[in-house]
Amino acid sequence: MNHTLLRLIIPGVFLTLATGCVTSTVDEMVFDEPSEGIGDATVVILGRRHASDYETEPDFIECVGKHIAARDKSIEVIGELEFLNALYPWFEPRTAPLKPSDIDKLMLQRPVAQKLTALKTEYLIWIDGSTVRNDSAGSMACGIGPGGGGCFGFGTWSNDADYEATIWDFTDRAEVGRVNTKATGQSYMPAVVIPIPIIAPVQGTACDGIGEQLLQFLSGHY
């Protein structure tokens, strides 16, 4: 029993120690926060994908949605792909509304207005940004021979995450809030026979930061 416990605790402690450090900052601007939460309305979180040199990662959007839904079970977050498919082709990168007033034009399409009413979508949150890897350094050599193989060396890199969430109110056709989060962290990979990655959870920290701020906006309990 004690051995089993030790087998679980030691890797757990090791993994806790073996994560790089992350620095995160969150800025928030809120213009019109719902005082009682969003009630039985739904919220959808979409990634902006207009830029040519980066793409807001779908898994980041999913992470923020899960963060909100997990902490306040009363908030229904519609999945990004589910929403994009249900409203195809009106929220594709080429056709998506760029400003809240564009929703009026979209509502002129009767099937679109009916679908949005059916989905009870009150807030649309656009997230724009990405996580990039910078400043890689170090070197590592790996070899394999009849007696076995292994690696030797050291690598390090930094990850920078920069995301901005813009909250649109579908009913008022207005932007009602904006949250910006930046996170940076250094990851390391020393290798003596076996490479040991010490990864800084930069994107996860940015997801928690932006998710927490959005939760404060959307939830009546926060």
Binding site: S52, E57, P89, E92, R94, T95, Q109, P111, V112, K115
Partner: protein, 224 residues
């Protein structure tokens, strides 16, 4: 040595052949057969019966690219099946009725009763992977050409349209999977572009405004 190969048991020969094939397969081009699912469009259907004809070059569309250096790899991107799947889904949702034609319409052809026939072509396809551009996105760009013709093949309109899809480098995702995803995004973009552009193409708009109204069909004709 060669003698032992000649009289080797069948299973050994099979093993040698399989090994050789496996080695040769490693030298072949990277092949991507584009697969995806495409949603129907959320639109008021246009009151038209549209015929569509997919030529062989479209229905079996593929793009190949030879490696330029020893470190590069050759690619074959087969998008024909996904193209047909996407356009069928889109056009079915965009028009009252969609009819598939077996042949290109022309004088003397027996064509079902349709208002017009759409003939799509992929004129050009380009792709980029991070190894080409040093930017961590996979990209597909396509240029389509559409012909809208009457049932006897007379041109109504012809126009071109581009489509673009990209996807970020994803952890534990192969180049093939990423190129496939970029192609699916490009096909969705093609559908979105076509759906919002179709009635704004000047020649199509003129035709829609001035086209002769077909007489209502009898029930028997509808069933045919």
């Amino acid at each position: 040595m060669s003698g032992s190969m000649i009289f080797a048991p069948d299973w050994r020969r099979a093993l040698v052949v399989l090994g050789a094939l496996a080695l040769l397969a490693g030298c072949g081009p990277t092949e991507v057969v584009v697969k995806g699912s495409f949603p129907p469009p959320l639109l008021e259907p246009l009151p038209l019966t549209l015929g569509v004809w997919y030529g062989d070059d479209f229905a079996h569309h593929e793009f190949s690219d030879e490696a330029t250096g020893r470190s590069g790899s050759s690619w074959v991107v087969k998008s024909g099946e996904a193209q047909v799947q996407m356009w069928d889904t889109l056009l079915t949702g965009m028009f009252d009725r969609l009819v598939h034609l077996d042949d290109r319409p022309g004088p003397g052809q027996v064509t079902p009763v349709v208002d017009a026939v759409l003939i799509p072509h992929v004129d050009e396809l380009q792709y980029a992977i991070p190894a080409h551009t040093n930017v961590k996105v996979y990209e597909i760009w396509m240029r389509y050409r559409f012909e809208l013709v009457t049932t006897d093949g007379q041109p109504i309109a012809e126009w071109t349209m581009s489509a673009y899809g990209k996807t970020p480098t994803a952890f534990m995702q192969s180049d093939q999977a990423a190129v496939n995803l970029a192609a699916v995004v490009a096909l969705r973009d093609a559908g979105a572009n076509f759906a919002t552009l179709f009635t704004r193409v000047p020649a199509v708009r003129d035709w829609l405004q001035h086209r002769p109204q077909r007489r209502p069909r009898h029930a028997a004709e509808v069933q045919l």
